[in-house]
Amino acid sequence: MSKQINVALVGNPNTGKTSVFNNLTGLNQKVGNYPGITVEKKEAVVKLSRNLKAHILDLPGTYSLNATSLDENVVIELLLNKNDKDYPDVVVVVSDVENLKRNLLLFTQIKDLGLPTILAINMADRMDRKGIQLDVGLLEKRLKTKVNLISARKNKGFTELRQSIMDHQKLSVNPCLEASKIDKEYFESLKKAYPKQDLYKLWLVITQDVNFGKTNRNRITSQNGFKPKSDSEIKRLQQKETIKRYQFINETLKETLTKDLALAKGLRASIDRLLIHKFWGYVIFLAILFLIFQTIYDWSTYPMDFIDESFLAMSEYVKDVFPLGMLSDLISEGIIPGIGGIVIFVPQIAFLFLFISILEETGYMSRVVFLMDRIMRKFGMSGKSIVPLVSGTACAIPAVMAARNIESWKERLVTILVVPFTTCSARLPVYLIIIGLVIPDERWLGVFNYQGITLMLLYLLGFVTAIGSGWLASKMLKIEFKSYFVVEMPDYKMPIFKNVFYTVIEKTKSFVFGAGKIILAISIVLWVLASYGPTDDFDNAESIVTASLDVTELSQEEINTEISSYKLKNSYIGYAGRAIEPAVIPLGYDWKIGIAIISSFAAREVFVGTLATIYSVENDDEQTIKSRLAAETNPVLGGPLFTFASGISLLLFYAFAMQCMSTLAIVRKETGTWKWPMIQLFGMSGFAYVVALIAFQILK
């Protein structure tokens, strides 16, 4: 059997670490989460030689081993824990040739842990253009390790890098410099107190200052003559350590690296002048956003229609082929539409992530963060909150996860709390059908379509509410926090197709499997609740309906629809809907809409499907549902059920209510408690109820 070693890829953000990972591993990578937390874990097993396999783990980007975010915490936790099954046999530090100085800080820290550490210098193909010369031999000697020049973009140097990984046992594990030099006395007493421990590891455990929810760390206490230092003394020592490391790095690079400054000037300045201009910067950002939404909704319709039709056909096929019965019903009416309800959103989500990952890859996202920080801070968030808020228009789940790199806990929490207000794609089917019913398909001033304007206003409303509630939440939350805001402004780069492709696949997969499980489960539960009833009325629906109707005048299909409608009314879900009717009548709805609202508390997009079932429409074709809905009458007020007033009330309800179990689950995971998702659930839905009530009462 061949041997397998653990390889950990570490590096600063923006060094191309992900492309190095992609180049080393290809398509056999697996994406998951670290146990207990939702930080992404990318890994792959690759064959290095006939009898050696490497398990390669891509760790989150970090500037140092001093964790200030959950992502960075993962790195240090793995490197300090020898018992972890992923504990590396060799670490590859990926660095960028232009930022070697800064990248080496992390390298020297990891080297001090006594691990074999390879330095892979990426973007080596740019050296000539940037006027950089590097004495690799001397650098290896100074850093006591193997140095590999690579280019992920041009796929160069990887054979050598693989060879270095194979030869990792030959590497020196001696540190580059010893942290203990910064305070001899202190470190000696620490050594005395914990003679069996590695000194630098002890120091790291002492210094971790994680400003990130709750982290339980075993504080090293006074014993055997060791006196802990105060926080401010420790901070001073950390500063001293950093200065010491930079001294070593500066000396090393002075001997090994030469840079022709005249050649070093890049495109940066001229592009920046435009992209972060105080006026044009915002215009460009808005234009890009507009373009993104425009193309998402435009391009997505084709694959979405195709998916819709395919699932419908599949359902029909099952009904035709399988013998009639419960199982066939469950598959054709529960499971297939359930899966279809998830898959239909794949195109929109994939397109959104395509754009977002391109914007990230090019370096533009950092400029947006820079432009927006001041504005977002007014609302209790950070410039970095812009990324979650924009992602929220696809789906709140990845958006909540994108808040992870906001350093301050309070700004991060506020962002997570308000993200579900942004208009996610699951609201779209609900909006489209109601707008189609109550807003006239006419033009205002002959140009702007009223339906289009309404849709745009709903998006705007979501964003404004998110921002406004951010302001409110930051006023109400009493959380002491350190306001960190240090954002690297990377060089502009052409995006690498491979990276964009993998990101899109990854995020889409995590949506389908994350949200998908819940939506599917709900569809099945709904099907059960709609397929059984507590009384005989349900079981004898067929004879009751046929007796009451003039059978001769109706086609068999019409009779069947009447029967299923009657069944639904007398099913468990029908009873539940009628039970809550008094609560929804003031909002302008009847018990049927009540059912649809209850069932869509799990996921909004269930609304349309439920209406289709309730109104016993044979398929959930939009036009058919619409014409059926338009014929409904209001049980209390009389007249049509869907009026301008009840339609607006329903739109507003769906704009604000927290109707997504998957989001609640992810918020629970990210914040570590049920407190925040419960606040979202009751706060948002309560607000939605009140707003919908007011709107209907005023407009009716």
């Binding site: 001093n66 920046d272 805001f485 990377p490």
Partner: protein, 77 residues
Amino acid sequence: MLTIASLKKGQRAIIGEMTSQDIPLKLLEMGCLPGNHVELIQIAPFKDPLYLNINDTFLSIRRETAKLIHIELIPDE
């Protein structure tokens, strides 16, 4: 006392002693250390944050942090 916050666009300076406990360690790790050069490249609209080149690392920090970092101006080159 001059701080990074008092720089004008395009002006360069040398970072002085760093005494405040409120300067995030991360900033030091990015190369913001005594003796290193700092250049103010751009100020965001509404005067905050600041876009700096510190020791060939390009980064942006908020004005409140910039006010904590003392500098010495480099005489006209």
